[in-house]
Assembly symmetry: C2
Homo-oligomer: 340 residues x 2
């Protein structure tokens, strides 16, 4: 609570001199500098970031919209890793992280929240319906606020996104399946709006065609990234199409539910039915059987997003471009050769 003024008074100098000393400006005399520094130490002074921000118009905080707007209290397993990464890189750059949580302001949007708090940039890390590119997203996109989203296709002068190569990932998943001899491959997707879901679906379809296996619309269901819906979809699919011998499910969480459901239904995985997921969440390796899946580089996604954001913030001439990171097929025990 000791201010720059207190120091100035005690040192017998002006506040401007104190400010310059504290900020290592060159134009302050040797002895005055030392005196001021000593007094500051004694009074254990530390600057008030709020006051500083007010005049500098820079807060050294980067904002973060995080999680599922609808379904709070549930957060994606994905998040912990990307947040870790984000923390690491923004922290090293001298920034703190402001997680928007305030729910008292009803009449506000992403953009106005950012402006109110004067964050220097913002990271969008949303799931569920938040992925919908709605009005608020558009507003943010064109607001001029430095912004990078994860898995949401925002593009603008100060705005971009990073994602996994979902198309290729999905493609690799079904390639793996057809190479194991599978031809009747069910698909449990996400939703109909998110780019992520769309790309994975396209990867599935295109590869099926490319491999000479046809696409059968009746093999396709949407699970909306919900375990319950995925379970329901599985029952329907197996009931209507008992000839199916493999599933590609676009998230590990859903894939786990699918596996449970399949086993409840009396099918063995992978002997009767093969299963590949997407994400490579921690649980995947410990499932029984351990889940074959497409691994997303979560940590890299977070750190890339953060790096790009910092660059947008600090280099005015930088024009950001979307970044796509590779996925990787990791084969475990939930997939096997088709037997006849």
């Amino acid at each position: 609570m000791t201010s720059i003024q207190d120091i100035a008074k005690k040192a017998g100098v002006s506040i401007s001199t104190v400010s310059r000393t504290l900020n290592n400006y060159p134009d302050v005399g040797q002895k005055t500098r030392e005196k001021i520094l000593k007094i500051a130490e004694e009074m254990n002074y530390f600057p008030n970031a709020v006051a500083r921000s007010l005049v500098q118009k820079k807060t050294f905080t980067i904002g973060m919209f995080f999680g599922n707007n609808m379904n709070l209290g549930f957060d994606h397993p994905f998040f912990l890793d990307v947040i870790s990464a984000v923390r690491e890189v923004v922290g090293n750059a001298g920034y703190d992280l402001l997680v928007f949580t305030n729910k008292n302001k009803n009449r506000s949007t992403y953009t106005t929240l950012c402006r109110e708090r004067s964050v220097d940039g913002v990271l969008m890390l949303l799931t569920g319906e938040g992925k919908k590119k709605n009005e608020q997203m558009l507003e943010l996109q064109s607001s001029g606020i430095p912004c990078v989203a994860i898995d949401i296709p925002l593009v603008g002068d100060k705005c971009t996104y990073v994602e996994s190569d979902n198309y290729t990932g999905a493609s690799d998943a079904v390639k793996h399946l057809v190479e194991l001899g599978h031809r009747k491959i069910g698909f449990i997707g996400g939703d109909e709006i998110s780019k992520t879901s769309y790309d994975r679906m396209r990867g599935y379809q295109d590869t099926l065609i490319e491999k000479g296996v046809g696409v059968r619309p009746e093999y396709i269901q949407l699970g909306h990234f919900s375990s319950e819906k995925a379970s329901k979809a599985t029952r329907k699919l197996m009931k209507d199409n008992p000839e199916i011998t493999a599933f590609f499910v676009v998230s590990d969480e859903m894939a786990c539910a699918v596996m449970d459901t399949l086993q409840e239904l009396g099918f063995r995985v992978p002997e009767d039915i093969s299963l590949v997921g997407f994400d490579d969440i921690k649980e995947a390796v410990h499932y029984s059987p351990p889940l074959t899946t497409i691994k997303q580089m979560k940590y890299e996604i977070g750190s890339e997003a953060a790096k790009i954001l910092l660059q947008i913030i600090n280099d005015k001439s930088f024009h950001p471009e979307p970044k796509t990171l590779p996925c990787e097929l990791v084969v475990r025990k939930s997939t096997a050769h088709k037997v006849d």
Copy 2:
């Protein structure tokens, strides 16, 4: 970027009138109020939180020290749930969350960081060596900054902590084991400094004595919440004491490593050796066999911590007390009757 001044000018009134209007003060005339509101809407004004904070000395942000200081990039599975809870309750109260990450300030402590940012309160959610009650913790404890820690015994006028009932939890774990007929029960603990570790160890020892089974120091090893160390400890324990028929391991992460190691060593779980963990992380239920463990109420821990903190902040006369939340034994498949 439109300020209160702009509105004042356009409306032909003073800034104080604008401010009062915007803050719903009673003493402003009907027509002027409406005019001002309309203009504010048109110019799509929103207040500058930084400026407001400066004068009000209140930021409506609560700070958060989070994770493992040493070992960044790895965050405890525990965290996601308690953060979800924290977000929920502070958000509903109108606060945002500032996660401290800035690593550029070397000469700073928890306390000074909080003061610089002028957070209204702070949540300590640390693991690893951060749990050590060091100088910085003491400083924070007596700083007068509203503070609640999780699993770290801080107590002060504006400072307290919440934790699980680790003693009873541990006690329940070994009770379960001895009720299954086990007498030679190995223990893999945490560290020697944290209260959490200490309480669980005491629960183990006391219950053993209470049940008439002796405590054997050679059955006790420390794993420091690290999978590798837990694995090593397991090997040592089984080599030196092959008569052991059960383990109580004080974290699920370590318990998983112990299970893997045991299986590598050729033991079957639970047929040869029973195993109970602590935490009930998500993976626990999917391990093979599914892990019997002591469940911590992670969400409640987070929400309790947040609620207490808000009360400290908003009720000056409130004197906080430590809060202990119950654990619960959840029996799965990693424990079984001892066979001879």
